[in-house]
């Protein structure tokens, strides 16, 4: 067992292992790792289940291969096995929402004092969202 860092919206640590360069977690740790659960119906979250054709392909030994699970969810992945770090892309549907449906995808980010804010906090007002940087 090692501490594996999973990065989607932010880095977080879960218990896992690195097996043949692949990052694995126990099935019970999958919700904490990726926010989805492996059930008989497939990979599930809330009311949505993604059916899995080849369940065995999700496993590396007894552990769930996070890259395989993310792949089954259609999410791109990059792994640093030496550092036990796993980065998974945000759902592409969120970006489609912006680009195709022209609907602002929600996000939660902290202000400079560390207080989290949601985009929805300002719903009901016209907003200029300005992405900038010190670089």
């Amino acid at each position: 067992m090692v501490q594996v860092t999973v990065i989607d919206e932010a880095p977080r640590v879960v218990d896992g292992a690195v097996v043949d360069g692949r990052i694995v977690v126990t099935p019970t740790a999958l919700p904490q790792a990726l926010g989805w659960e492996l059930k008989p119906e497939g990979i599930c979250r809330d009311d949505v289940c993604v059916p899995v054709r080849d369940r065995d392909a999700l496993f590396a030994g007894d552990g769930l291969d996070l890259a395989a699970v993310a792949g089954a969810l259609g999410r791109a992945v990059e792994v640093d096995a030496d550092a036990a770090v796993f980065a998974v892309a945000l759902p592409a549907e969120a970006r489609r929402q912006a680009l195709d449906a022209l609907t602002a995808p929600p996000f939660t980010l902290a202000d400079l004092d560390g207080v989290p804010h949601e985009l929805a906090e300002w719903r009901g007002r016209k907003r200029l969202l300005v992405a900038f940087a010190s670089w």
Binding site: D111, R127, A133
Partner: protein
């Protein structure tokens, strides 16, 4: 206005935000660069009361400070904003808005993942491993300043110096690609 800094820490940003009363948020994972397909800053997105994107990604400035460098004046964009806020005038149709922003390629998405891994490893004190990921990210998305320019200060480079000039020449030679509308004239 909601300003979002694609920066690593609040300290990097605070000097630019003195006197600002509108919300300033920090996005060290560059979530917005993925959610909104943002490839450079400053990028402005107009969002209406019902969360509709009225005018998508555009390069727009608050002042004329960078006019000579980029050819973009602040005035025309500000005129459009006033017309929207006062008279509800939307400067482009939904079809035009949809056509304005190309989706991220698979490589551009993977670049963002490598950038996040690099940022994490740098925070953990492993600069060498971090640099490998920043370099890979830059290789996957060479025209994306939220990747290549943002990584400069994280790898000991200068985003306003020689390291940047070469990158900018490359960018111009490639036709200054940008996921969004060109500067308002």
């Amino acid at each position: 206005m909601i300003a979002v800094a694609l920066d690593e820490s609040a300290d990097d940003v605070r000097e630019f935000t003195e006197g600002i009363t509108y919300p300033v948020l920090l996005d060290p994972e560059h979530l917005l660069s993925e959610l909104y397909a943002i490839s450079n800053v400053p990028t402005v997105v107009w969002i209406d009361e019902q969360d509709r994107i009225v005018r998508p990604n555009s390069v727009a400035f608050g002042t004329d400070m960078f006019k000579e460098f980029t050819g973009a004046e602040a005035g025309p964009h500000q005129d459009l904003i006033r017309a929207w806020v006062r008279d509800g005038i939307e400067p482009l149709s939904p079809d035009e808005a949809r056509a304005a922003v190309d989706d991220l390629s698979d490589d551009e998405v993977r670049a963002r993942l490598h950038f996040r891994i690099g940022a994490h490893l740098r925070r953990a004190g492993d600069d060498a491993a971090a640099k490998r990921h920043f370099d890979e990210a830059g290789r996957l998305a060479p025209m994306d300043f939220t990747i290549r320019r943002a990584a400069l200060p994280l790898t000991g480079g200068d985003p306003f110096g020689q390291d940047f000039f070469g990158m900018y020449e490359e960018y111009q030679a490639a036709g200054s690609p940008f996921h969004g509308l060109p500067p308002t004239t």
